[in-house]
């Protein structure tokens, strides 16, 4: 049963944290929460389909189907996160004029948020990010439980373990939601932007890992080994893995993927920060 608790928790954690983060964002932007039901439904159906066709997927493309499909699912989530981040960069780096306008008119920040956040893309991005993450992660749960289908004694124990694991995962998600939902607005946006940038970077490590596993990319010696600091087996390691894709021994290829992934949001941020700096210096010569 303990095995089931740990396995389910590990699979559920990442999707639960991503869902909580985006729900907190919806709360801050006064968006509807209905998208989350669509995302959960699509994610669960998707996960079942992935598990149901697991044989066919694994055998496809000369035995590389599982990795290629995972890499594709990760990539779609990464691109969605980058798009979401780019929509938020202009809000995080506002010109001083906007800031003073907001100080005079506290509703201003809501208005500024609303103008960008009611972008029609927003809901689609939320749904894609959550449902694709959930489908990939949860498919392993179905596969795991299928092993117990003909063993009723073990099945009940595995199901109880699964329920406990899912419960812990959802609780951690709920904590994440409240931490972010009750964060002051001024710090929420920069922190949110930083978290989704790191999240996208972490997922890119997984894409590289999938391609190394099928021999398309060469592993090479790890850039560093931080297992002595934070072991991936440990609780902190697992949590960091779920949220930031923590890898104690990243390879050079993974490093390159990471930098390439965080580059768009980083460059856009620098560009906007520079723009703000220019307008403020031209105002006060």
């Amino acid at each position: 049963m303990v095995d089931a608790v740990l396995l389910i928790l590990r699979e559920v954690l990442e999707a639960a944290l991503i869902l909580s983060l985006l729900l907190a964002l919806s709360f801050k932007l006064q968006l509807q929460f209905r998208w989350s039901l669509v995302a959960l439904g699509a994610g669960i159906i998707g996960s079942w389909l992935l598990a149901h066709y697991a044989y066919e997927i694994a055998a496809a493309m000369e035995g590389t189907g599982q990795e290629l499909l995972n890499a594709a699912l990760y990539t779609i989530v990464i691109l969605s996160l980058i798009t979401l981040g780019l929509l938020f960069v202009p809000l995080v780096f506002k010109t001083p004029q906007v800031f003073t306008a907001e100080e005079n008119n506290p509703a201003g920040i809501d208005k500024a948020l609303a103008s960008n956040s009611h972008h029609p893309l927003m809901y689609y991005l939320f749904i894609v990010i959550v449902s694709f993450s959930l489908a990939r992660e949860a498919s392993e749960i179905w596969i795991y439980l299928s092993a117990f289908a003909n063993k009723p004694d073990y099945l009940s124990s595995a199901l109880v373990g699964s329920a406990i694991g899912a419960g812990i995962g959802l609780s951690l998600g709920a904590i994440t939601y409240f931490v972010f939902a009750f964060m002051p607005k001024k710090i929420f946006l920069p922190i949110f932007l930083a978290v989704i940038t790191l999240l996208a970077g972490g997922l890119s490590l997984q894409v590289a890992k999938q391609l190394m596993q099928i021999g398309w990319l060469d592993s090479g010696a790890p850039l560093w080994d931080s297992a002595f600091l934070v072991d991936e087996h440990s609780w902190v390691g697992e949590l960091l893995y779920a949220l930031l894709g923590y890898d104690a021994r990243p390879t050079p290829v993974q490093g390159a993927f990471y930098l390439l992934t965080i580059a768009p949001i980083l460059l856009a941020s620098l560009w906007h920060a520079w723009g703000v700096h220019l307008t403020s210096s031209s105002k006060h010569p």
């Binding site: 697991a54 044989y55 694994a58 392993e140 299928s146």
Partner: protein
Amino acid sequence: MKRIINRAAYIGLLLCAFAQAETPTFTIEIRDHLFYPAQLVIPANTKVKLVVINRDPTPEEFESYELNREKVIMGGAQAIIFIGPLPPGDFPFFGEFNPKTAQGMIRVEN
């Protein structure tokens, strides 16, 4: 033009076959939620192809933090996992669906 493409494809195929032949292959079997052999010795600084055959009717996940690999292998199916080049040392792996029994180790030697 067509001939050039054909010839290029032929050379490409040959190169692929050559590259495949270059990669040493090792086989691990899963039986009753155990890995056979439980310890596998592979050469250092060499890319290696692992063929993991699951003889059990139930699925298993080959997982290793040290090797940075994870792959679900359905019951009765087999999977190919590339690892390395690795420095000499011990790299444990386990079956995530049966972590108590399914334990193994890749020993990398010069």
